[in-house]
């Protein structure tokens, strides 16, 4: 800047220094970028239902389709071990949690790559893309949550601990965000990640108690199932919304541990790798 140059509007200009750095991410960036994250989520939503004859009706049709498939497969063919809870509210609660996790993962894993032109050509804060892919999945979550609550009320199951729902929603969000923090930066450099995610999602619905309960499973199988973080989340949700008797405390604790682990690892990895996104995407 010119020395002694009178500033035209008399206001000091913000000075930014850019240099070699391994990390430039700060926690407050998540909050500071909420507007653009929201708009990117809105963009994804709009794009999804533009030029679709049924448009947002798919928000209702898609979960009903999954509900029918799960009901036929698990309730129709096998004995789903619901601990005495009617199957409809039981499966809806599992589906609510699972759909949000899987849809956010499938949209969020490749979010840096699919927004490649933005990442290479605009100063968009990269962290906003993660929030954006979660915002884009809020409408399906809302629909399934409404279904779940309606079913829980209709069957007269909704217990007092349902008041904990805001905490459960927050936990679900944080867990999903943490997963995206970890996988989306890795997917920029290693596209293998984009091949793994559909596998996790497709196989995951069988090894996650979405359409069945873990209570009646043989102890070795049950021990394996509770290592899955989604199991603990679903157990907690079923306990809160359907008064699931004797939820697996171990599964819930393990899911909590996973959340913390993913959050710490994801934050470090995202912060480390985001400065290289424009070079690798």
């Amino acid at each position: 800047m010119l020395e002694g140059n009178a500033q035209p509007e008399g206001k000091p200009l913000p000075v930014v220094k850019l240099g070699p750095t391994k990390r430039r991410l700060r926690l407050r960036d998540i909050w500071a970028t909420r507007r653009v994250a929201g708009m990117i989520g809105l963009r994804d939503m709009r794009v999804k239902y533009k030029q679709a004859a049924l448009g947002p009706l798919w928000l209702v049709i898609a979960p009903l389709g999954m509900l029918a498939a799960l009901t036929i497969a698990f309730s129709g063919v096998t004995d789903p071990q619901t601990s005495g809870i009617p199957y409809l509210p039981f499966v809806l609660t599992g589906l609510t949690v699972w759909t949000f996790i899987s849809a956010s993962m499938s949209l969020g894993a490749g979010v840096i790559t699919t927004n490649g032109p933005l990442v290479r050509r605009s100063p968009l804060p990269r962290i906003a893309l993660l929030g954006g892919s979660m915002v884009g999945n809020l409408p399906p979550l809302g629909v399934l949550l409404a279904f779940s609550l309606t079913a829980a009320i209709a069957y007269g199951l909704l217990p007092i601990q349902a008041l904990l729902l805001p905490f459960l929603l927050a936990w679900l969000m944080i867990f999903t965000y943490a997963t995206l923090l970890l996988i989306s930066p890795v997917a920029v450099k290693y596209r293998d990640t984009l091949a793994v995610v559909p596998l996790i999602i497709q196989a995951g619905i069988f090894v996650t108690p979405v359409g069945y309960g873990i209570d009646g499973a043989p102890s070795t199988i049950k021990a394996l199932l509770i290592l899955n973080p989604a199991t603990g989340l679903i157990e907690a949700w079923r306990w809160a919304l359907l008064d699931l008797p004797d939820p697996s405390i171990a599964a819930i604790a393990i899911a909590g541990g996973w959340t913390l682990l993913l959050l710490v690892a994801g934050w470090r990895i995202f912060g480390r790798l985001e400065v290289t996104f424009a070079d690798f995407v």
């Binding site: 140059n5 709009r46 933005l118 450099k189």
Partner: protein, 232 residues
Amino acid sequence: MLGETISLPQTLASLNPFSSAPPRETFKALSDVSFTVQRGSFFGIVGANGSGKSTLTQTISGITVPDAGTITIGGTILPLLEVGAGFSEDLTGRENVVLLGAILGIPSSDVNDSIEAILDFAGIHRHFDTQLKRFSSGMKARLSFATAVCFPADIYVFDEVLAVVDDDFRERCTTEMQRLHGEGKTILFMSHDLDLIGSICSEGMWLDRGVVRTVGKIADVADSYAAGAQVD
């Protein structure tokens, strides 16, 4: 192979302790680049394809970080590094303008204040609420440029953005950039078009294969570029 960083043969080679894989090739897009742009100047950066202009603009705009050195920027910066950068084909013109404003971190009130000027400048009133994919490439370019110059900032960075528009619109763009310059804004303008740089910029720099060859008055830069380009 340069650029291909991950592959199965490489993974296998890295697992084999006896393999003697060749070291990974690297490429320096910029090296030892050092220059100062005075506040309020119209600064042109000229260089052939592959001279590092785009890497430089990416670094200045905070899109990628340098391996060494620092960049000090006084003021808010608005980069337009590519025609249509930040636009989504499935959104309407209006939705794109609003989204781009958010991406660039411009307060929504400023975005709304700019919309009228953007419409006038781009001349697409009728099609503002049409999806971008129905736009002609010229309309896209006009909207993209109009958005960039109408949003408020202290420093504007344009990278090869006038290459795809017709002469008439290029004329209006240069007039608009000169108006911004007249208002005391700093403008960085990259091009391989020496005549264009020479006619609109006051100072400039010649970037050649990642190194600075000349910095200073635009006439000097133009002379040495013209001479140097002939020697090469």
